[in-house]
């Protein structure tokens, strides 16, 4: 091992701490995103027009502007409105709100993927609106949206790198600091790249394991099943 790598071995603790912070923020923001996504998806199917309008403004505003801008608005913009957040909270909120809008669309698509006939059948059988949603739509929609949710989780993980712009010492932020201190560009960013690669593969592997255990029949989450939805259909045909 050359001396450059040995120098960086001295920063081992910083990298580990940064990776842990990255993972923490990813999971917290993901929980927030799931809640917001579910709420927005329900709101966009609501009978009250105002709720639908709020949901669609939220979804469109978020999906059509960059995450980095949203992070800046939360971190630098909110204080002038009297809400001051630290970088950690601001990061979790900004990323959660961002991914929530994407998940809302996914959930909406999932709900729509359940054939209409089933809703009619369920209501003829005397099930109430809430019951139909929980017992008929949700189990089927969950299966349909699961791979897309995992994709969004991975995108969220990669998105945490942008929090280095608000000086949060997660992986990218730490890499920038170590880079500035040691000037070992190649080594620092290689380690960072590998760290992200490990985190994202571990997360998608765990998600795959959960997919095969929770769903019946097991949802096989190999790379193949994470291909675009329409692809799976096409290859089934041949």
């Amino acid at each position: 091992m050359s001396y450059e790598w040995l120098t960086l071995a001295g920063y081992w603790n910083d990298f580990v701490r940064a990776a842990w912070l990255t993972l923490q923020i990813t999971l917290l923001a993901f929980i927030l995103a799931m809640l917001l996504g579910l709420l927005a998806a329900l709101a966009s199917a609501a009978r009250v027009g105002l709720l639908r309008a709020i949901a669609s403004v939220y979804i469109e505003a978020i999906r059509n502007t960059p995450v980095l801008l949203q992070i800046f608005i939360v971190f630098f913009g909110l204080p002038s409105l009297g809400v001051t957040l630290n970088a950690y909270t601001a990061g979790v909120i900004a990323l959660g709100v961002n991914v929530g809008a994407y998940l809302a669309e996914v959930f909406r698509a999932g709900i729509q993927s359940v054939p209409r006939g089933q809703l009619e059948a369920a209501s003829i059988l005397g099930l109430g609106r809430a019951q139909i949603f929980v017992e008929v739509i949700l189990p089927q929609a969950a299966r349909a949206v699961y791979p897309a949710i995992v994709n969004n989780l991975i995108q969220l993980l990669l998105g945490t790198s942008l929090l280095s712009a608000i000086a949060l010492p997660e992986l990218s932020g730490t890499a920038t600091v170590i880079n500035a201190r040691t000037l070992l560009y190649l080594q620092t960013f290689t380690i960072t790249l590998v760290a992200y690669l490990v985190l994202s593969s571990v997360l998608s592997w765990i998600a795959g394991q959960i997919g095969t255990r929770v769903f019946h029949p097991p949802l096989v989450m190999t790379k193949r099943s994470r291909r675009p939805f329409f692809m799976a259909r096409q290859s089934d045909r041949t």
Binding site: E60, A61, R63, N64, T65, P66, V67, L68, L69, F72, I73, F76, G77, P79, S80, L81, E105, V106, R108, A109, G110, Q112, S113, A144, V145, P147, A148, N151, I154, L158, G159, T160, S161, L162, S164, A165, S172, A175, T176, N179, Y185, L186, F189, T192, L193, Y196, L197, S200, S201, R227, P228, F229, F230, M231, Q234, S235, T238
Partner: protein, 216 residues
């Protein structure tokens, strides 16, 4: 916000928007070419190229674009060359988005029924001819909606190039906020400009691809 501040900042932001659009256009071209090449190599490449193409897509789909940009921007100077931020941005975004675009093209290529390849071969077309004149034209309908969706996220990703110091729309907004404050108003204005560019594209994607790409 005073109208004077509004007009002066709007002028600066429009300049930034032009840079964003140029960066986006160049990266869209680069990313599409790289993506197409990677997809073709992955499906038809000789020797070890399918494996390399696969490694390429999986590497970039599992790492943040910011790291790619920093790798290129700082990495090039490591070897003793200078690279300007626009070039670093175009290369970084093209290479990064190319990995996502490759997957989109690959799904399009794989959607072409096997029989058509056999027929093309029997008709005496070479593999290249079969690809460009038989397979590619048909994949358009399948590939276009997710491809435009990917371009959309590329355009939003150009904001990240501001983090290596390129003065595009995001950077212009930051510069104004640093000078005069008023983050809510200025970033709001920046958001509106991004929205104006992105909204038509996302509506197009939604119209043509109601649920397929969302569940991908």
């Amino acid at each position: 916000m005073s109208s004077e501040l509004l007009t002066t900042s709007l002028a600066i932001l429009i300049q930034g928007l032009v840079a964003t659009l140029l960066l986006s256009a160049a990266s869209i071209i680069g990313g599409t070419l790289i993506g197409l090449l990677a997809a073709v190599l992955r499906s038809f490449g000789p020797w070890g190229t399918p494996r390399i193409a696969r490694l390429y897509t999986e590497l970039f789909r599992g790492t943040p674009v910011l790291i790619t940009l920093m790798f290129i921007y700082f990495g090039v100077s490591y070897f003793g060359y200078a690279i300007d931020v626009f070039a670093a941005g175009v290369v970084g975004l093209s290479v990064y988005q190319g990995a996502y675009i490759a997957e989109i093209f690959r799904s399009g290529i794989e959607a072409v029924p096997k029989g058509q390849w056999e027929v093309s071969q029997i008709l005496g077309l070479s593999k290249t001819q079969a690809f460009f004149s038989v397979a590619l034209p048909q994949t358009g309908k399948i590939v276009m909606p997710p491809l435009i969706g990917q371009y959309l996220s590329l355009i939003k990703d150009t904001s990240i190039v501001s983090m290596i110091g390129m003065s595009e729309l995001m950077h212009a907004g930051q510069a104004i906020v640093d000078r005069v404050g008023k983050p809510v108003e200025i970033y709001g204005l920046v958001a509106v400009l991004y929205f104006v560019v992105c909204f038509p594209l996302s509506q197009w994607v939604r119209h043509h691809d109601r649920r397929r790409s969302l569940l991908s």
